[in-house]
Each structure stands twice: as C-alpha cells, then as structure tokens.
Symmetry: C2
Subunit: 313 residues, 2 copies
C-alpha cells in the first residue's frame, strides 16, 4: 500500500485511480491513506461548481479548466454523477464532452457515482479531493449534478463555491436558488446572450444586498460558456476568493468552519456505520412482529439499544 | 403536557399545532409525547407526493385531497417548504392555493421548513405524521418541494410514494427521475393534455419493465390536475397500494423495512446529538489552529472523540 501511495504522490494516474476506487468501495485502508497524505494537503484551490439543471455547468467547467490550463495550472476534476438505480452506472452524456482533456497530462478527471443517495455526494469524494491535493494538483474542481443535497454538501469540501444560473428559469428553480444563494462565493449567469439575463442578475444582486456586512461579497459574472465570453474573469474571481480564504482573518473563520464540519462529517459517518451494525445485531423477526403489531414502538426499541451502548446515560 | 395531548387527541387543532411546534423546535417533551401517542398510530394512509419541480404537485395534491374528502375521509397535510436562508420563513406562493381548505374542519394543513438542509425533510416531520395519525386523520399527505434529498427521505415516512412527472422535461430532469423511479409506488403523469405525454408514459413503463418479479407494479396514471381529469383513479390506486402494504405478505416486508429504518433513524439522531455536544466541548481555538496548520488532521481528531464516546471500542 505504501508503494501505491508513493506512486500516486509521484503523479502516477493509475495509482491515483486505484486508491480512489479502494476508498470508494469502502476499503478499510482509507484511514491509513488519509493519515499519510493529509499533511501534504491544503495547497490546492478547491472549487465546487453547482447550479440549476440545464444551466450549462459542464460546458462552463470545461472552459474554466481551459482558462486555468492557459496559466499553466494542473487540474483535477471530480464529477459527481447520479448512479442509475437500474444499471448502477455513472455515465452522463455531458461528461463525454470533457473527455477531450484526456490527452492532457495536466488534467485528471474522475467520475464518482452518488450511489443511491439522490444528489448527495458520493462516498469517498472528500478523500478523493484530499488525494488530488496531496498529489500536487493546483486546482481541483468538484462538479455536481445540481439537483439537491449535493449543493449543500459541497460547501464542506470546496473552498470556493461557484453557482451557475441561467436566464428564464421557472419559479420552482428560483426556490432551489434560494437554498444555493447562501453557500455561493462566486456567481456565473451563463447563457448570457439569452433574454432575461439582466433580470436574473438584478435578482441575485438584490438577494445579496439583503445580507449586510459580508466580509466577502460574491461577484456576479455574465458568461457565455459556448464561446468562452466572461470565463477568464470568472476564473479570476475564483482565485481572488481563494486568496481571501487563505490570507484574511475573515477567511480563516471560513476555513475553521470547514474544518469543523469535516470533523463532524467523519464522526457522523462512523456513527452511521456503528448504528447500522448495532441495530442489525439487536433486530429479530420477533421484535419486528412486535413493532408491526404496535406492541412496542421504535422510540422504546431505540431507548433500549442506547441503554446498552451507554449504560451510564 | 398530558392535557395538551388529550386535547390534540380530541381533535383540537390548536393543541396539535402547538405540539408540532414544540417538537419542531427540538423540545425534549418530544420523546414522552411519542411514547404516549405511538400505540394509537398505524391507522392512517400515509402518502408522500413528490416529483420534478414544475410538475404541478400542489394542484394535484389539492385535487387528491378533494377526492378523499368526497369519500368522507379526513386529511392531514404536511407541506415541506424550503426555508429561505435570509428570512427563515417557509412560505411558498403555491401553498396559498391550498388555503381554500382552511374552512374545512376535515382538513388540517401544516407547513414545515427544511431549515437549511436544502430539500431534506424538516426536523419533526416523522413525529408530526405520527401525531396526525394518532389524532385520527384518515389520510396524511406529505408534499415535498421535489428538489433533492427529500425524495429519498420521504420513503422512510410514507406508506405510499406518489411520483408526479410531466411531459417535455429536459435531460437533467430525467436524471432526477431515475433516482425517484425506484421509490415510486404510484405514478401520475400530470398535464396530460400537453404534447409528449405518451413518450413519458412509455419511458416510465419501460423503466418499470426492467425490474422483474415485483410484488407490486406501480400503476401509471395520466392526470390533468387543473380540471381534475384522472384524479379519482389516481386516488384509488393510492388506497389499493395501502391495502397491499397492510394486507399482503409482501407488503409486510415493506412495512418491516420502514419500521427498521425508523429505529435506525431515531438511533442516529440520538448519536448525532451526543456527538455534536462532545465535539463542541472538545473543540478549542487552539485545536482549530492546529487543524488549519495541518499539525493534526480531522481523522485523528475524530478518532480521539470516538474513543471518548465508546471507550470499549
């Protein structure tokens, strides 16, 4: 295993891919790998790109990568794909577009499935980001499918959250935006050649104005990913925000919050695993029958189990 | 408190509302209330209604309620609204439509905010459902905003999951559908007067055909909520599915699964509360600085805390 990690740290993409697969499949080496590589992390610019379905996230991501490559930066991409419940696969037609980077040694692309938790981040996403960071990628992009929980989870992994909106979305999409608003660090209003772009930009700025005394005011960029308009400026804002996080007292607070939620997240994952195990040991056909007949109830059953784990309360 | 519960059980809507508020705000009486009312639960038909944004869920829910009311059934509605990150409110223009039921004693409507977990179920949703069940509502409808995690969480609360689709949605929406497909018990293709309805219906049936030997094959209904077309048949399928859950050996398995996840959920919530408390006590400015400087790492910190919670491993 140590040799595999050495290879990955030396930039061997096959070693990187293998380690990510091991972690994704819940292999117990994960903890050891993380302890070994963690001291080497914290150098990459970690970006999350999210937004409404159909906002053109993939094309914009593609162009942002191009912009960073022009500056000589190496890029790692974690594309979060919804696993199909029937095939178990994690392939989206959209992703195929990005394959044109595959000839470029400076770009590493990894697709990870959401594995059932609709829209949630895949198991091992955090660890994959840390590995790419330790392996020396300058920029790491996490791209989500933009349909749910991932929008919120992403903030726990990314230093800079980019939200992509488009003109002419319906009211239901606006709702989604409301939830995304509070986690955004940089906005792109994409497809800015379409009618209604000024209205969306004005709405976003209005919502941002509602919060006073922000240490960082999220810039709002108009982009046309298809032809690259506005993309370099958008990429520049991302680096500016990263600089803010790393080099200001207010940014340090953001970093603390992220680290704190990182600890909580690791704890919660461990607790979920334990809970599942504890309940499986406690569960019996008889108990299930009693529950179904309402002779006992889930609250009493849970209290019993907790008493066993914590006899002193 | 006992008096308040008595009042609620006698049908006093103000008492019901107050108990739900207490639970929603994390009041510790919650456990006691649940133990008291749980034996009275299990009689209601608990329905979850979910689907793509813009599918017309609110209008369809409204008409389904009407259909149940015509049969003399009482109805409780839990509307899951995304809390605005800025105002903290939980009001959607859509919900206002349902207010026309407020003059009807047989209908109780409660809106619950998602409180930050974008699309996730609110705290206390499960308990609110149980309370309405104990208070004698014949049918309980949980309506989600349809943008994420709630679609998956809902299966843990509802006996019957209804998925609302519409013709002419884009590819990104199709993805969302894929995740919803596996939890659906009854389908409605709403706005069935729009072009493309046959294609969506065919696609759904095709996906359903991929899974062989289902004990229950989800029926696919064409509805036009605006004028009520197909709604009674849709409501009938819901009752048929409920009958299947309650009165067939295969249905018992579904019920066992739901009860099992109920216990797990209560356990996990308790463990999470404990962990949060322990982490808050453990956290210090100094530790955060060490974390930020990468002198330690979240994996080591989490391992330390877990040792404190579970000293025997």
């Amino acid at each position: 295993m140590d040799k595999l990690i050495d290879k990955a740290l030396a930039g061997d993409t096959r070693a990187i891919a293998r380690i990510i697969s091991l972690i994704e499949n819940g292999d117990p080496v994960s903890d050891a790998v993380m302890r070994r590589i963690y001291p080497l992390t914290g150098r990459a610019v970690v970006i999350g790109i999210t937004g409404s379905p159909g906002a053109g996230k993939s094309t914009l991501t593609d162009k942002v990568i191009e912009s960073f490559r022009k500056q000589g930066k190496t890029v790692g991409i974690i594309a979060i794909d919804p696993s199909s419940p029937f095939s178990g696969g994690a392939i989206l037609a959209d992703r195929i577009r990005m394959q044109r980077h595959t000839g470029d040694d400076g770009v590493y692309i990894r697709s990870m499935g959401t594995r059932g938790s609709l829209g949630g981040l895949s198991r091992g996403t955090r660890e994959a980001v840390l590995l790419l960071d330790a392996c020396g990628k300058d920029v790491i992009v996490i791209e989500t499918v933009g349909v749910g929980q991932s929008e919120v989870d992403i903030i726990k992994l990314a230093d800079t959250v980019c939200v992509v909106l488009v003109p002419g979305m319906g009211d239901d999409i606006q709702i989604m935006k409301a939830g995304i608003m509070e986690i955004a660090d940089v906005f792109a209003i994409n497809k800015a050649d379409k009618p209604g772009v000024d209205r969306v930009a004005a709405e976003v700025r209005l919502m941002l104005d509602l919060v006073k005394n922000r240490p960082w005011t999220p810039p709002v960029h108009l982009t046309i990913a298809e032809n690259g308009d506005g993309v370099d400026e958008f990429a520049e804002s991302i680096l500016k925000h990263h600089d803010f996080i790393k080099n200001s007292p207010e940014g340090a607070k953001v970093e603390y919050r992220r680290l704190s939620s990182e600890v909580e997240d690791i704890l919660l994952k461990n607790l979920s695993r334990r809970t599942e195990k504890i309940w499986k040991n406690h569960m019996s056909e008889e108990l299930m029958k009693e529950l179904a007949a309402r002779e006992t109830n889930p609250y009493l059953v849970a209290a019993d189990i907790l008493k066993k784990i914590f006899p002193h309360g």
